[in-house]
């Protein structure tokens, strides 16, 4: 592919992160458009990649992501995935991908996981927090611009973000097959060791899961909320917090933040496909 890839950010009724996601994808080097749920699904074919953004599709009615997963445009997304195009699902978008059976996709089309309510000591409900993500697998549509062992701070904001499955042995299989793309960790990549670094009780600190091919990734943290350095809090631990504290002037603050690397990975995947995992 020559030039900038074209990426669609899907807008279901109730999502609320589509505009900032589009801006972050544009900054990452792609042309980017919003695509409404009630547009003709065939029109999705003209894009090279897709983002399902965060929010509350269909107001989380029935269950987060459940109704959007049945939408006709998600049916078309399934076809584009089979053709090898990349998809990134962020937060509610991740919930849609799981409900659609696109992730983890060990058995094609089957729903093999769920995102359960947060488990946090002494509290429940919605939780926002700056997490550190340790990259376990490069080369996917979310990690092509990263290396195994990299740590990227990205905030979470959700009430149902705990990856779980009722299938015996599935989690072990996903780790062995390289489908657990990112896990919650400390700022140096050390294990999260429970709350608050694992912000929701997710099984074995799972933060992002891919399909077997690596072109579809479902992640709970919001990379568009750390796409520029000015979005990183000065108080954050680790390298990115230090970069933010050292940044002086508008040019430095408008430089890429850690979340930009995730979105650059999507753009790179559109242009090059996988580079090996």
């Amino acid at each position: 592919m020559s030039g900038r890839p074209r990426i669609a950010v899907l807008r279901f009724p109730g999502v609320n992160c589509e505009d900032e996601t589009r801006r972050a994808v544009l900054a990452a080097g792609a042309d980017c458009e919003l695509f409404r749920w009630n547009e003709l699904p065939e029109m999705l074919g003209r894009f090279d990649g897709y983002v399902l953004p965060g929010g509350f599709s269909y107001q989380d009615r029935v269950r987060a992501g459940a109704i959007a997963a049945k939408d006709h445009i998600v049916g078309r997304i399934c076809e584009e995935v089979a053709a090898g195009k990349p998809v990134l699902g962020i937060c509610n978008g991740a919930q849609v991908l799981l409900e659609a059976g696109l992730v983890p996709g060990v058995e094609s089309g089957r729903v093999q996981m769920g995102l359960a309510t947060n488990v946090m000591p002494g509290r429940d409900g919605y939780h926002t927090y700056w997490t550190h993500l340790s990259v376990r697998v490069g080369g996917t549509s979310a990690t092509g611009a990263l290396e195994r062992g990299d740590v990227v701070p990205i905030p979470v904001a959700h009430a149902e973000g705990r990856f779980v499955t009722a299938e015996e042995g599935l989690i072990e299989h996903l780790f062995e097959s390289g489908q657990i793309v990112m896990t919650y960790s400390g700022p140096g990549g050390e294990p999260a060791a429970g709350f608050p670094r694992n912000p929701n009780g997710s099984t074995r600190d799972i933060a992002a899961v891919s399909n077997p091919e690596g072109n579809v990734v479902a992640m709970m943290p919001h990379p568009e909320r750390s796409a520029w350095l000015f979005q990183v809090p000065e108080s954050l631990e680790g390298d990115w917090g230090a970069r933010r504290r050292d940044a002086r002037g508008e040019d430095a603050l408008l430089g890429p933040g850690p979340g930009a690397l995730v979105l650059e990975s999507l753009v790179r995947y559109c242009m090059e496909g996988t580079r090996g995992r």
């Binding site: 107001q59 029935v62 049945k70 769920g114 499955t165």
Partner: protein, 205 residues
């Protein structure tokens, strides 16, 4: 006095947008327009309630609530007082509720209706509710489990011997694939169906 199990059923007396969206999904997105004619939704709370003065937590109500001929009656009075003073279960401006002794799957159905009850596998909603109630001096509720009861009106009354009924149930209720059902993700929820003639069928354990 031992704890009694009571059923609190809460439904909207205003239009239910969630049921409307679910019906739209079943009919227009999932191709079940011929099979599913209508849909209604209720919250069903299975609550363990004690009217005992020695209940471990703080209590709403007093002698009047405890003065009853049977422990069932007493527990119903206590729970009614809790529902109406805490507003946690029902907002009187938009909800109606009823109280009964029984189980969540006891429901009266028309010949063309089925009920699907869905609850989270871990029961965390119930634990949160009990904790919230204790914070509001309603320690008489010592256990809680919430079910969403979907009342599905079918295109036509099913027959007991209808071999396609089981697959239709799964197609409506069990979200095990994108082209599967809607109401229950089997990795985080459990589901039971109640058929028009009263039989129960566990869909997801």
């Amino acid at each position: 006095m031992a704890a009694e199990t009571l059923i609190l059923t809460v439904s909207l007396k205003i239009p239910d947008n969630e049921a409307r969206s679910a019906l739209e999904a079943l009919q227009a997105k999932m191709g079940l327009a011929d099979s599913v004619r209508d849909l209604a939704r209720e919250d069903v709370w299975e609550l363990r309630v004690t009217s005992d003065e020695d209940a471990s937590g703080p209590q709403i109500g007093g002698d009047e609530e405890r003065a009853a001929n049977t422990s069932d009656e007493s527990a119903v009075r206590v729970l009614k007082r809790i529902v109406e003073t805490t507003n946690l279960f029902a907002n009187p401006n938009k909800h109606r509720y009823s109280l009964a002794v029984g189980t969540a799957s006891q429901v009266e159905l028309e010949p063309d209706q089925m009920a699907v009850l869905v609850s989270d596998r871990e029961g965390s909603e119930g634990e949160s509710m009990v904790a919230s109630l204790r914070g509001l001096n309603a320690g008489q509720v010592v256990g809680a489990r919430r079910w969403v009861r979907w009342r599905v009106t079918l295109g036509s009354p099913p027959a007991r011997e209808d071999a396609t009924l089981a697959s239709l149930l799964r197609k409506i209720a069990v979200a095990d694939a994108r082209d599967g059902g809607l109401f229950c993700n089997p990795h985080i929820e459990q589901a039971t169906a109640v058929l028009p003639w009263g039989d129960e069928k566990v869909l997801v354990r």
